[in-house]
Symmetry: D2
Subunit: 346 residues, 4 copies
Amino acid sequence: MSPPFTAAFVADPEIEAWFAPEAEIKAMLAFETALAAAEAEAGLIPAAAAVAIDAACAAFVPDIATLTEGLIRDGVLGPAFVAALRQKVVEPYSRYLHFGATSQDVADSALTLRLKPVLALLDARLAALIAVLHEMSVAQGSIKLMAHTRMQAALPFTAADKLTNWQQPLLRHRARLAALGPRLLAVQLGGPVGTRAEFAGKGDAIAADLARRLGLSDAPCWHTARDNIVEFGQTLGLIAGALGKLGADTALMAQSEIGAVRMEGAGGSSAMAHKANPVTAELLVSLAHYTSGLSGTLCQALVHENERSGTAWAVELLTLPPLIFATGAALMHALNVAKRICFIAQ
Amino acid sequence: MSPPFTAAFVADPEIEAWFAPEAEIKAMLAFETALAAAEAEAGLIPAAAAVAIDAACAAFVPDIATLTEGLIRDGVLGPAFVAALRQKVVEPYSRYLHFGATSQDVADSALTLRLKPVLALLDARLAALIAVLHEMSVAQGSIKLMAHTRMQAALPFTAADKLTNWQQPLLRHRARLAALGPRLLAVQLGGPVGTRAEFAGKGDAIAADLARRLGLSDAPCWHTARDNIVEFGQTLGLIAGALGKLGADTALMAQSEIGAVRMEGAGGSSAMAHKANPVTAELLVSLAHYTSGLSGTLCQALVHENERSGTAWAVELLTLPPLIFATGAALMHALNVAKRICFIAQ
Amino acid sequence: MSPPFTAAFVADPEIEAWFAPEAEIKAMLAFETALAAAEAEAGLIPAAAAVAIDAACAAFVPDIATLTEGLIRDGVLGPAFVAALRQKVVEPYSRYLHFGATSQDVADSALTLRLKPVLALLDARLAALIAVLHEMSVAQGSIKLMAHTRMQAALPFTAADKLTNWQQPLLRHRARLAALGPRLLAVQLGGPVGTRAEFAGKGDAIAADLARRLGLSDAPCWHTARDNIVEFGQTLGLIAGALGKLGADTALMAQSEIGAVRMEGAGGSSAMAHKANPVTAELLVSLAHYTSGLSGTLCQALVHENERSGTAWAVELLTLPPLIFATGAALMHALNVAKRICFIAQ
Amino acid sequence: MSPPFTAAFVADPEIEAWFAPEAEIKAMLAFETALAAAEAEAGLIPAAAAVAIDAACAAFVPDIATLTEGLIRDGVLGPAFVAALRQKVVEPYSRYLHFGATSQDVADSALTLRLKPVLALLDARLAALIAVLHEMSVAQGSIKLMAHTRMQAALPFTAADKLTNWQQPLLRHRARLAALGPRLLAVQLGGPVGTRAEFAGKGDAIAADLARRLGLSDAPCWHTARDNIVEFGQTLGLIAGALGKLGADTALMAQSEIGAVRMEGAGGSSAMAHKANPVTAELLVSLAHYTSGLSGTLCQALVHENERSGTAWAVELLTLPPLIFATGAALMHALNVAKRICFIAQ
């Protein structure tokens, strides 16, 4: 089914690619390969098993439809994925696949593996936007504008003042992502109920080695402690909020009666040819409201009852991807807006 | 880009089809055809123009990519759609296409045109679920269960009592949809700023005729008054909430230590072969939380400033479709759960 | 503890009075009196017991501190309230107090008893606001204004057009409250697990008589079906949203560079003596966002697991009162704004 | 007006005291005194003016009713507060009071001044809860329990495993508060439009000195960049979410049919004497949902348009205090729950 036209408002192909089924399976395969290698290294499974598992993973071609059926039936991809992959492992090694692990281990590790490049993309877009705003300050900063408080003209200031107000939270957001990265981008390894009891006393060593092999942080099992995930979603809400402020300011300055900015390539109207609508600036405000709402809903997922909650987990799975895509799209829209703004002296 | 695997949790192909680009364009064409016919009937445009427009609409093949570009540029499909369609109208009649109307007229009317079958689908699923619950009452109603209040065993009651509690809000939801239908499924016709000034004093008559031709209610222009739309989203939140209660009850009754229901075809675990997880029941709870959040975000769209707010409108466009799909999917999941429940005497 | 200064933004003494502890106890006493009378009428308890209970209720002086302790301990006022009241019933009749009922019966009935005047107050304020807007149309409707779409000047229209846009959703909100009233303002009587089993086959008759005595609708037990309550909260979100639109329009029109309205008695600044800030109009927008959020959170309370959920119920109890007060306050602020608006021809 | 009984669920007198009008005025007076001292030190105002202002602040008795009227009229306390205080400054120095500052400078600085002890209180409660959970691990950690995933019995583990899962996010929350403190607890000084233009080139030095005198961090003006405030609210959502998980686990373990915990002092029922309801544990879940919703609404306040938004600011002022109180109350309730839990071997 094609998505609605308006999905284009939040389209972010570069980031969405990391959430496509193929990318998720690829990350799951990386987990199973690295887990087998770490378990072999620790002497928990035969070295030949790790080789066989590596070969099976390298050759595995997922059947997306069957895996999707499994997801709906089991609530998680793991059982169908492991069953399909196990058939590809040369015997007598198939029993060593996913050894001691649970579906959530592979699901969460495959998530953080993909969040790593996503974080880098978001940070790069923040950096690009800050750079554009800085260039604007250099080029247009001395233009005199009227500051407005509570919807009223207040006192004169300059475009540089406005641009500084837009940049400062973005700088803090980059610092937030940098501080969050190490705790968010962590390996997940707990076994069925999160105790690592299945790893014969070697669970912590295997987790550390697994993390190293995957380029993730080492961490104790976090099956039920979703605070880092939710904090990431909240930070996305902060980012989109800052962009919403940039958009709101732009749309207000672009009002016909104020004219403090001109937007190159503004949107048209089917009924009024004279109009130049600050469409993308308005959309930034919409995305701020949308992501704020999603961030509050994601926070509802913290009540992750007992040792694994299908309920809370699915709330997370339903809200985190659109929150990421909308924020990623908002960053692209903001860059687009910033590049087209010409301040006009008041 | 393929959507994430977990999009399957909220997949509802039957309803999503009404939001696919092709369906939206088809509804927009129906609007333009009917508008021209009504305007010709009122003597506002030549009868031959209506014939030419009807022919152009019937033959129109949309270029989805170009229209999507237009949507992003203009914030609304109207300008690009009307421009493309106008080229197909035999001259000298192209100027009579979309005569006096604005993009929001066609967008909103094309929305309510499609919400009409969507409402019917949702109602049919509610009716089917009520019927299944009623059959369960007949077949299993006398089974003795233990009622629980505040997570504690309270006093005995029967499966019929439980089933009655599940059915009653669903009956009210059908009544809500029935009451909402006429005011929600209304034609939109306002012209550029919502005054019908462009229709030479015949605006009200044209709107009434247009409504009749489209099978929609007649209504004054509601460009900026989104209360019926938001109320629809809120009602979806009510429906999904009732299903979440059904799911929560089922998951609680299915607990190993309680065993008051057995779910046929429960989900498996990649690590624990003995488990039978009430996956779909849990998902109903997740969907209730998810739709509750979306309904609150949709409500933020009521602050529709001035005579058309790109900002508030986009919030609506971003939240209404996922809210509809998730509720539609929840109804299917609930039917699936209900059909698989076997109560076990306590 | 005094509330923060900013509680004044949502202060609504007239409505808050109905939620004060004394008013709640008074409604609970009315329930117990009427229940005993209905049970005596049905022959379930001695007529003399009803007389004794009536006397005890009439003379009861609540100890708010002790009842609050009970609320925190039991999660509901019922146990402590009934225990205290029981001591005041002349023996041998104390055992007939609250006969067959549960704490939620008295809590919910005491809520709907108080929502009845609250609904009337809200409706009266809606009517008053509609009347003021109508008077404004008569007095100022012909003033020429500029319509704005997507933050841009669009085409001329009149103050009457603007005022019509503000009034129409308010008219629908009155109709919504009128339609909701009968199903919302219902008696609650279910007994411990909602089956009316404790009423010896006379439960339905007693509920009907109780409803009549209290001036509420008769209804089957709705302990766990909170849809009418949530729908009420959602309707409050719709009302506050319409007022937020009125506020947003006013603040935008009041901008220094536009000057399409003058607000008598606008707010001052500690730093800029020349400013006239549209403070109350802005506050209407804030209240729309605030109530939208609360309405989404209230909707989370629908997942009312099993036969009584302390969890979902407390979510309702935490969100419904502030939602009511904020909407009530918004209506007063909107009336205040409307009375002070002078349109200025553009 | 007395608050509703159910306000007791979120009562936190120790923290609420910091938001009482008297405490806010005291913090505002501290700001004005320190500002005058810093401005005198910088040579911007006479040293004698600072002495006179210090004396006026020390002797000032606020008229809460008049200030509240001013708040409603002006949207902020500043104008009425400064006007009242100015009358108390010995002439010819009254003109040096609040010199160069704007209402938001004193409002925001007075907020962060009070958030400082609030943060310390929250952190102390987190530490106390962690200590209790640690003591429980020592005393009861070896008790065998059954782990549950997706509402089903999974595999055995121990109370220590459960307690570890509860403690780990709390440790991270303490680290979050510690990292947030310096950027949140910052001075606000911007002047009317946030440029410090009124301070004759000495604005940065005065702000730094003011921060030092108030025990706050130095920071550039953050009038419109509310990310640190919203991040604080989001962190409260994370904290309450972790406590909601503790509450949900407890209520599930306390189920009659499971009996893995006994709660000393559990709540009673007005109808069923045999019940011991896990009332406080359930309330923790409610507070998690409530605060999640508030955190999402607070995030809506980031769209702080232009150089001061009355709208966005009021959303913040309406949501932050209840979010703080509810989280503070949740910490006390969680401590109460933790102290009363006795695990029972399964």
